[in-house]
């Protein structure tokens, strides 16, 4: 269009009605154009942009680490029960957590066997004892798990080839994922074959390795037969058990079996499907300890700090450009457009901070996970959740900073 060639009549015609513009621009312009302006403004001041991104990245990494630790601790807390691969468990209704079990009469095992759906049932004994590091001689608390290894109800990775060896007196299988303070059992086994260690006051022979992993209650685990368990835990009576593991006949509906066992057994046992037992254990750590709160609080602090940083940056951006914003208002930009500019800037920062934050957190998960033996793992669900948190954090910062726009008064421009 020829800007300077317009005839005066045409100009007079415009006086009463604005020109009807031809359609052409995208329908997304009301969002795209403010976003582009926000991006150009952010890009213009590199130092400010970088500090804003650093703020979001910081919040992002903090939240990722807190959530990662939280779920790693809960996962590891339930590690022992989670790796017991039985269909159904019986516990005492008063048992809160597996390392402090209330005992049940052993006769519940044979009572459960009366149900036709039940193929096998074995008692499990749990106790804490000490292990003397065969390399350094230092003693350290260790979790003992005793059960009938032969029946095949309970399984741990690596257990099957050791079943015969574990039948011998005074033999144990060591958890290869126990913390390194217990000594390098794998190396010793490879070098000298089965070797002796002191467990409690007994001398036991390590015949092989299984895989469980350390948990809250235990830095390491030993698995052994019922008989060998009682040789170490001499005070434990044969008639009381801590846990009963049940294997169902193939093709049996687990929930039906749970219901029938509940009806059959006296009220001093509680019948739980495998995953329910894990959830029961997890609930203890989540609800009966301050751990869940600590991590939620840590995440919240990360978000608050990130929000304050983003707010500060956006706010001072508006404050230093107040004249320009007032000019835009004066020449006809509505409040909505300017609000969208501020919100777009916040959301651009969310994305620019999240992407490196995700990469850095994935890297840290790997490094820290190796250092602490905690199962830190990045998954899509958590990444998506943290993105939403960061997005909302920046959105709130944008909404707060927006109020500063009210100070841009177009009437002050002349």
């Amino acid at each position: 269009m020829n800007v300077i060639g317009a005839a005066p009549e045409q100009a007079a015609g415009r006086v009463s009605a604005p020109p009807a513009a031809p359609r052409g621009g995208g329908g997304l312009d009301p969002l795209r154009l403010p976003m582009r302006l926000a991006w150009r403004q952010l890009r213009a001041d590199r130092a400010r942009l970088l500090s804003a991104i650093a703020g979001v990245l910081f919040a992002c990494v903090l939240v990722f680490m807190q959530l990662g630790f939280r779920s790693a601790l809960f996962d590891s807390a339930t590690k022992l029960l989670g790796s017991m691969q039985a269909d159904i468990f019986l516990i005492h209704p008063m048992t809160l957590v597996s390392f402090k079990p209330e005992t049940m009469p052993r006769s519940r095992v044979s009572q459960a066997l009366a149900l036709p759906e039940v193929q096998a049932a074995v008692p499990i004994y749990l106790a804490q004892s000490t292990w003397r590091n065969p390399e350094t001689g230092r003693r350290r608390a260790i979790q003992l798990v005793g059960f009938d290894t032969e029946v095949g109800v309970m399984d741990f990775p690596g257990l099957a080839p050791l079943v015969e060896a574990l039948k011998r007196p005074d033999t144990v299988a060591f958890d290869r994922r126990s913390r390194p303070e217990f000594g390098d059992a794998a190396k010793l086994l490879a070098a000298r074959g089965p070797f002796d260690v002191q467990v409690g006051s007994s001398r036991m022979q390590v015949v092989g390795l299984i895989e469980i992993g350390p948990s809250f209650g235990a830095d390491g685990n030993l698995v052994m037969s019922e008989l060998n368990f009682r040789r170490i835990a001499k005070e434990r009576r044969r008639e009381t058990v801590d846990l009963v593991a049940i294997k169902l006949r193939p093709g049996t509906d687990r929930s039906v079996a749970v219901a029938r066992l509940t009806a059959l057994l006296p009220p001093d046992v509680r019948v739980l499907a495998g995953p329910e037992l894990v959830a029961h254990e997890r609930r203890y750590w989540e609800e009966a300890t301050p751990i869940g709160f600590i991590f939620a609080f840590g995440s919240l602090m990360g978000l608050v700090v990130g929000m304050v940083i983003v707010y500060q940056i956006l706010f001072s951006d508006i404050a230093t450009h107040l004249k320009e914003y007032a000019t835009l208002k004066a020449i006809g930009f509505g409040n909505g457009y300017l609000r969208r500019v501020v919100l777009s800037a916040a959301l651009i920062l969310a994305v620019l901070g999240f992407v490196p934050g995700l990469l850095l957190s994935t890297f840290l998960y790997d490094v820290v996970g190796k250092g602490t033996f905690l199962p830190l793992m990045m998954d899509a669900g958590r990444a998506g959740g943290v993105f939403l948190l960061i997005f909302s954090m920046c959105g709130v910062a944008g909404l707060l900073a927006m109020r500063k726009l009210a100070d841009a008064n177009p009437a002050d421009m002349f």
Binding site: V3, G24, T327, G332, F333, P410, F414
Partner: protein
């Protein structure tokens, strides 16, 4: 045809403050601008020129009287109507007020973002054409910080005119410039307005640019002085 007048003011009054602090700065103003007319507004400091301009520009809510701008009555007009009207007015301020993080071309093109339905390519080509018209055809990619004061004010002129406004309002646009570039900007504005047929209402103290006016209006103490009407200047 009085209905086609871009600006028609009857009995306008305005006061700042409330109660005991209330201070009347405009009284009983009658003023109109004809299509294509260039009107200069002069007067001593504090006489209310800027206040009048902000009322005409729909930057302030009216209090008393009637003010029709481009067919829109401003007395009692809602905020949305005032914002819409501002889009049809070209504003030029004492400071250029360009966005420092945008190039000259982007600054000018931004004013066109308010017109729905324009494509980006159209916005940019109209901005480039307008920059050419103010003699800055080659400075499109420059940022305001890379331009001289006179060049910046010319970019501001381009921004005010690119949207084909129905009226241009300017408040001392040459005050921040030296004699030569001030005169250049004023004459440029006049020439462009003439060729587009856009009326201009400009507040100025600058005696060197009075020659661009079709008519000069003097204000004093919130009133328009009757004696100085139709003091047509030569030139133009």
């Amino acid at each position: 045809m009085p209905l086609d007048r871009p600006l028609e003011i009857r009995g306008l009054g305005y006061a700042y403050g409330e109660g005991a602090l209330r201070k009347t700065v405009l009284r009983d103003i009658d003023l109109s601008v004809e299509p294509g007319e260039i009107v200069l507004l002069t007067g001593p400091s504090g006489s209310g020129k800027t206040t009048l301009l902000t009322l005409i520009g729909a930057l302030r809510a009216m209090q008393e009287g009637s003010c029709r701008v481009l067919g829109q009555e401003l007395m009692g007009a809602p905020e949305a109507a005032r914002v819409a009207l501002r889009r049809r007015i070209g504003f030029i301020f004492q400071q250029h007020n360009l966005l420092g993080f945008l190039t000259a071309q982007q600054n000018v093109a931004m004013a066109l973002e308010l017109q729905p339905g324009l494509r980006e390519a159209e916005r940019l080509s109209r901005a480039t054409a307008m920059l050419g018209a103010v003699g800055l055809g080659d400075r499109g990619p420059s940022r305001p910080s890379e331009l001289s004061g006179g060049q910046r004010q010319r970019v501001a002129v381009a921004r005010a005119l690119v949207g084909d406004p129905g009226l241009v309002l300017a408040d001392e646009p040459t005050a921040a410039l030296d004699r030569q570039s001030g005169g250049e900007v004023a004459r440029l504005l006049r020439d462009l307005a003439r060729s587009q047929g856009v009326p201009i209402l400009m507040v100025t103290h600058d005696p060197r640019i009075l020659d661009i006016a079709d008519r000069i209006i003097a204000m004093e103490d919130g009133r328009i002085l009757p004696t100085t009407r139709a003091e047509a200047a030569g030139g133009g």
